[in-house]
Symmetry: C2
């Protein structure tokens, strides 16, 4: 089965927005085994859209349209396709009621053209829109499947997952449902991860395991097909267990977890307060942790000691220590952690020091970072990084690695209790 | 003149990367008055690419290809187009020498397939690649123009600007050169900016003025066409002056300036040191400022007082002040700024306090932020924000507005001296 993804919207052709919908849909279609052979973008122009449809139905079995379902006169996707496949538009009661409710909730007045959004092809399967107003739809005509989805990604993505995917499954003649779990990794590169689980990657067919690397994280998406959710979960659990036995130390969370949400969750669960002393990261670690609502019961605060003098003046780090070991050292990271913990009266202290670049710092090579973590009444632990990026990548990685080591530290503490 | 942008690469169809090249090229073509009617993405498949070319030359005058110019056997853009337009590939001496030099510099060994990258259409205009190895090319065949550009954006973008744009100008029969200057705004929304310079926007033809809003900034790109660079600059200067007379207070820089680079530049020029006390931003302001290399001579450091108690304990803010005015107040922001300036012995102090959300803080509505800025021996100035975003957007905006007000503050100081 071959698919073509067709985005309709002049704003794409003017370069005002990115076609991120095509990327999202392509990834999901790859997972369920539908090949994408083309992406096409066309403007809000019925004649050109008609030509695009004629070409697409000659080379693909599934045409997935995004955009052009709105209430304005520019939005012509439905009307143009209806004309091509010889169907008529009828008002969908459920969609119309939903649009009415939407306007009531927001206290705005509904205008006549908003009713246009409730029009769907006669006989089409309506795809509910739970995050916007325009419903989607799916219909088959002369062996070609037409799926129409809204343009805004926050409407399109949930509709694709919850409404369009089951339709495509039924088209593929599959009775199974599909379920995914994403494992989140830190501290391991994509190539290294793939190498270490190579056997698993090669032998898997159901569930499938798909690695994906973004700028700041590596993930594995485990996708199972099964006749029930329980069965799908059992299949995923088994593969997850195998993966954890090989590279479990690098997994910090699943699905929607982020480094900061996981660290905040563990701090909250263990009722621990934290303070940090940051040098090269200059507040980035604390700012990332504070992304999480409710963090004020865990994060007391901290000190940014960007300038070297300030490490001595603000945190009482002994000059003799700095002279003997240097500012970028295990000893300095530990001393920063201990000092800020005492100063802020917290349970846990963090110290981060390093050479971000572009120049070496205090004789240490660019990318050398020391992270110190200490808990009240315990000896500090320190971790060394040797990063190879540019200045701000190094600073970001230093901050992320601190979150990662903090997560491991808190998990170990939890396991001990 | 109608253009079609054709991206070649299976990784796009698998959803692994975004087609950001299409967005970049579309924006630039809009500026020089070439209409983009279609974007197409096709995989590394010669048969399908051939069909795409056949369709495209029937509906566009300029076909701009990105990707598929690399050394591997998957890279087939050149070979496929050569076959279609009936030309042959010849080795380009300049490109080959450049590839040789590239390998010499990096100390790696050049393999036979790298020579493939130096192949260009016989008689084509070679577009130099100054940031990678594969040269681009431009050629006309039966009234259709073919431009071939590399896929990696850091190679494609400078090549498009420096090499492809002059080619397109010559195709358009224009002898002029094109020159742009970007004005960077903060503290004003896109709609408000467009409204205030509406007359200018409507009457301009040369230079053109193009507004563009991204997540964190609003910009105006002034683009002039002229027979010489001097003339283009004069045209741009005149328009810039008009714009500044209307909305100059919101312009913080030009071209590559960012809020943090501009603030760092002004701090450096005026030889001032700075410390900050951050509450809701939790270090984000200092971390953004520390994006700039060499900032350690200006940024001494600061304190994150996330937890309310810490404002009293770490910075000696009087409890009576907090009781009387509240934590989210002009008075608290000023006191934080003064206290951290004294504590760190700097010339300038910054205080940031506010209610990020999701819940109101100390009786103040979500989005209420106070920023204090003080210079040694002067009375503190405070600024109030009423933001309407979610928690982390509010925190980001609070940090950016602090940079913006700091820039204004430093500019005023400079003007006084």
């Amino acid at each position: 089965m071959r698919a073509e993804i067709i985005a309709v919207g002049s704003e794409l052709l003017l370069g005002q927005i990115l076609n991120s919908n095509a990327k999202f849909i392509s990834l999901r279609l790859a997972e369920i085994g539908i090949d994408v052979n083309y992406h096409t973008v066309v403007g809000d122009n019925p004649k050109r859209l008609e030509e695009v449809i004629t070409i697409a139905k000659g080379r693909a079995d599934v045409l997935i349209f995004t955009g052009g379902l709105g209430p304005t006169k520019d939005d012509l996707t439905k009307e143009t396709i209806a004309k091509q496949i010889g169907t008529v538009l009828v008002s969908d009661d459920t969609a119309l009621r939903y649009i009415h409710e939407h306007f009531e909730r927001s206290g705005r007045t509904m205008t006549e053209n908003n009713k246009k959004q409730a029009l769907v092809f006669q006989g089409a399967q309506v795809l509910a829109n739970h995050t916007g107003m325009a419903p989607g739809m799916a219909v088959e005509n002369e062996g070609t499947h037409y799926l129409l989805l809204p343009g805004p990604p926050h409407e399109m993505e949930p509709m694709f997952t919850k409404e369009a995917t089951p339709y495509l499954f039924s088209v593929l003649g599959k009775k199974e449902l599909i379920k995914s779990r994403v494992l989140k990794f830190y501290g391991i590169g994509e190539a290294e991860l793939e190498f270490r689980i190579q056997d698993l990657l090669e032998k898997q067919t159901n569930p499938t395991i798909a690695p994906l690397a973004s700028k700041s994280a590596v993930t594995l998406r485990i996708t199972a097909k099964a006749l029930s959710e329980i069965e799908a979960n059992l299949l995923i659990d088994a593969v997850e267990k195998e993966i954890r036995s090989i590279v479990g130390e690098f997994i910090y969370g699943i699905d929607e977890d982020t480094l900061s949400s996981k660290a905040a969750e563990l701090l909250g669960e263990s009722n621990l307060t934290l303070a940090a002393a940051e040098s090269l990261t200059a507040g980035m670690f604390m700012a990332e942790l504070a992304d999480e609502p409710g963090i004020s019961s865990s994060l007391s605060g901290g000190v940014v000691v960007y300038n070297n003098d300030m490490k001595v003046k603000q945190l009482g780090i002994e000059e003799s220590l700095l002279t003997k070991y240097g500012v970028v050292s295990s000893e300095c990271a530990a001393a920063l952690a201990v000092s800020v913990m005492k100063k802020f009266g917290t349970d846990v202290g963090i110290g981060i020091t390093g050479a971000a670049g572009p120049d070496p710092h205090d004789g240490k090579a660019v990318g050398t970072v020391w992270i110190g973590i200490v808990a009240l009444g315990e000896a500090p632990k320190t971790y060394k990084l040797s990063l190879s990026g540019l200045r701000n990548t190094n600073r970001l990685r230093a901050s992320q690695f601190t979150l990662y080591y903090l997560i491991q530290f808190l998990k170990d503490k939890k396991a001990q209790n």
